[in-house]
Symmetry: C2
Subunit: 129 residues, 2 copies
């Protein structure tokens, strides 16, 4: 299977697949013409990576998850630890963004948005209050 077909079937751009090979997440063999030749197993790994990335896992997390996935002697606690830490980071990030949103929403709501220069948004940023 050439990279184009793998890209179609995995949903990942060919560029990204090459990048994943570059950083050692997949190791497709090569044909005589230097083309990458993916099997079903590599395709499956890439799909796994795509889903993990879609859940926001970092590349290093993905590497760890993949290693665990392929380790028949894994402990589910190791998987859960990675996912739990990621969940905590997401919660933290959502909290940060929510606070930004609340502040911003109030400021935007108070701004007349007309041709006059007076603006509570700029007033807030300039340190008033």
């Amino acid at each position: 299977m050439n990279i184009g077909e793998v890209a179609r079937r995995s949903g990942l751009p060919a560029k990204t697949i090459r990048y994943y090979e570059d950083i050692g997440l997949v190791r497709p063999p090569r044909d005589a013409n230097d083309y990458r030749n993916f099997g079903e197993e590599e395709l499956h790994r890439l799909a796994f990576l795509g889903r993990a990335r879609a859940l926001g896992f970092s590349i290093e997390d993905c590497r760890g998850l993949m290693r665990l996935y392929e380790d028949r002697d894994r402990a589910s606690s190791d998987v859960k630890r990675i996912a739990g830490a990621h969940l905590a980071r997401i919660d933290k990030r959502i909290a940060e963004l929510s606070e930004m949103r609340n502040t911003l929403r109030d400021l935007v709501r108070c701004c007349a948005g007309d041709a006059r220069p007076d603006c509570p948004i700029l007033a807030d940023l300039s340190g008033a209050g």
Copy 2:
């Protein structure tokens, strides 16, 4: 005022202040010894930038907001447009993260987290279901 004091008073790391000068957000004059010499106005600009960044505005947004801040003939609609677009991006990002969180939370909740290899998190990532 040297960069150290400005860093303390603005809350921004000296490195960041140098970076902001590098990309043209501030232009402190120099003393004979090449040290940056910040006045109250530069300090104020940096504090403005710090608050805008804390609200998640991009550097380019900050540049625009700063320009508007210093333009006495600005229209508040221009400010509101930048802030509104940013607010929409934040809302979108929160929605994305919330969806990740919901999925992850369910998966983590279902994972035994013990010494056994069976794991719904890996099962999901591998495409089961």
